[in-house]
Symmetry: C2
Subunit: 471 residues, 2 copies
Amino acid sequence: MLGDISEGVIISMERFFNPQSVAVIGASNSPFNLGASICAIIKHLDFKAGVYAINRKGEAVQGCPGYRSILDVPETVDLAVIITPAGAVPQIIRECGEKGIRRIIIESAGFSEEGESGRILQEEVNGIVRQYGIRYLGPNCLGVMDMHSRFCCFFGIIPGMYDAAFDRPGTVSYVIQSGGIGALIMDSFRSDVVAVNKMVSIGNKEDIDESDMLDFFCNDNTEVIGMYLESVKDGRKFLETAKRVTKPILVYKVGRTGEGAKAAMSHTAGMANNDLIFDHACRQAGIIRVNSIAELHSLPKIFTAMPILKGRRIAVFTNSGAFGGIAADLLVEAGLEMARLSAETQERLRKTGKLYNAANPIDLGPAISMQTFLDVFEILLSSGEVDGLMPVPNVWQHVVIEAIMELVKMCHHFGKPAAIYIPNAVERIVEIRKEYMIPVFESPEEAVRALQVSYAHYRYSLKKQKRLQRV
Amino acid sequence: MLGDISEGVIISMERFFNPQSVAVIGASNSPFNLGASICAIIKHLDFKAGVYAINRKGEAVQGCPGYRSILDVPETVDLAVIITPAGAVPQIIRECGEKGIRRIIIESAGFSEEGESGRILQEEVNGIVRQYGIRYLGPNCLGVMDMHSRFCCFFGIIPGMYDAAFDRPGTVSYVIQSGGIGALIMDSFRSDVVAVNKMVSIGNKEDIDESDMLDFFCNDNTEVIGMYLESVKDGRKFLETAKRVTKPILVYKVGRTGEGAKAAMSHTAGMANNDLIFDHACRQAGIIRVNSIAELHSLPKIFTAMPILKGRRIAVFTNSGAFGGIAADLLVEAGLEMARLSAETQERLRKTGKLYNAANPIDLGPAISMQTFLDVFEILLSSGEVDGLMPVPNVWQHVVIEAIMELVKMCHHFGKPAAIYIPNAVERIVEIRKEYMIPVFESPEEAVRALQVSYAHYRYSLKKQKRLQRV
């Protein structure tokens, strides 16, 4: 434990994501060397700062000048990335301390997650970093990725694999405790309207933990924070930090059952936390607990691409009759309401074209013109009877896509969100979303869930604002 | 109500899906004529029987000979498909009766779903069919689709749209109350290992209802029955029929909430059923109630591509550590168990290669050879400690796909299922499933759900067998 995070530490944290120079300790030209893959990805991304490879032979790796020891590097080193066998780590950290390095990422595994001998090694590391005032990420982690600064020290990434992500930096930042989950999230964003800002893999989080990262993302250019946690290191700290964060926080936590907690423990050495307490804490601190890994990447777009939902009353419209009933069931089950449309509003809707049904859920019927779409959007969004929309338009003609693009603009104009679902096979949905960059969800359940979390965040924000005003 | 279904009616039902000759009443060459689209799709599929178009001018439509009245058709007509304005339907049915037709599909809308005047028209129809001993589907429906006989009388289908489905007939049959849902299911099967057998749209189901169809699919070449229902016409009949069916029945029902029921009522004129009673009845009758439309098409493959799950004990293995904990949580939450592997089994597993963790969930580590995969499969499938598998292999090399293909064979050999999830973006999963025709699910939740329904069906089957033995 290295004491509470301070203003000074927040400032220095930025340089984990955008260091002025980096040493990759353990990078060599041996076959399958993981450090070499870090040098390769840093070079591939054309990262602007100096990168040095430290290995026994002092050889250059992937175009990065090589040295036998960090102490031999002629320049100042801002960040050290360590990827050596665990046993070598304490001595390396000592040398880093001597070199004046205060930021380290320990990617090596073989610490507390591997039992008693690992725990002893961890204690040794803790003693050394305390001595030098070093802050570190890990061990047993992948480090960081920043699409804006174009810095990445994840090992095992094939150069080119995430080019699309680095070429389209976004605003969603992630704290993860698994490379597999990170890869899945990165992959899934390829076909979405929102993109990744930063990703940090905290591993065993012996020093910098999820709460520190939450605090950091609270103050940078992040819009939505996603977390995959296998444990919570310090429940009270997490709770107190989250209470201060007004950005949406989405958390998936493993270990809801004893079996899950046991599996997580062998993966990243966390403690089995009481899940009921965690759940209660989330509600207290305004954290949205998500129900699947998929929600970590599918839900952020309701925050980044749409205004927030400020009330429960949703108007559903579709040109595929069954989805009216399906949406109504799901919305009510999610604690939202079907907006009651007055006789006047229904009359105005009826005048827009050949609607099958002007009561909510509105059945647009199969043949609908662009003008009818626009009129329906305007009537509903401008109505004091409606807080948000759930459109379920079957994309059978190009005009439907054009209408959805207009709808997105109108949502911003009227300050009300639409959670759009297209009732097509998921392949087709993903294809359309990618091609036209429109925020569509992959199932009616996902769209309703998006409205639910948007409204939950709105209510959390009100509470947090009140609390902050009191202070 | 036309009395209970009898053996004779079951036999004749087959000819709704494979008629010896068809008349499409209301098919003409007017622009946007829906009947013409039925003639077009029948002709496009090269259906082997005679098809006649009936319209005011007596003109041929899409190559189908035309007549002014069904009474003018010189041949016997096996099935009449009616797609005229509702008001004309009673007289047409009378003529069909005179012509000796006993099977009709009324696709026209404008009956009970549109209020009092529609209900009066419906009464008139009921009187006439009773008089002639006619059985009919609809009104307000799309009729039938049979991938084996290559017959389809859905209106509005663009020729070519479902060619892939007709060229690859399968074993999953559907009863639907919405064309939109039908289209979504057909679309989704494009990229799955299992395919559609028959689909029937029952609309307002004034005569032939969901129970009759259940009974029919119980005795044909169907392996799994899927239903999308907006109401249940006769709860007791449905319950009694379902009790006799030993094939898996998956049902999605709208109207779980008052709002959903109201919306469904305006769509297909059903009665708002008490959802709690329905839920109880499903458990009584061994019906699997699914949680989303997606489950209607995603779950059947656990029945068609895998042996049934005969116990709760699941072994999880992955090369992406986090998914061990995620799967463990989900399995326990679904009422299944993490198999306890004995010291001997763990020792055997350890000997197969460089495993990270040989306890369940098994962490294969990143680098794994084909032989290690095969050894792990054999050890787990042959073990008396394991009833089923949940593999979560990241497909990072082609060997993983080859291993999955071998696993499918071995599952059949050992009579135990594997619900496979690939932790990649959904685009990639769908691509792999399509290319290699391997039964992979799209999320860990879906894979666990598949195991859950497989085991639920196993337990239902045992109960049903006992009941049948008692009778």
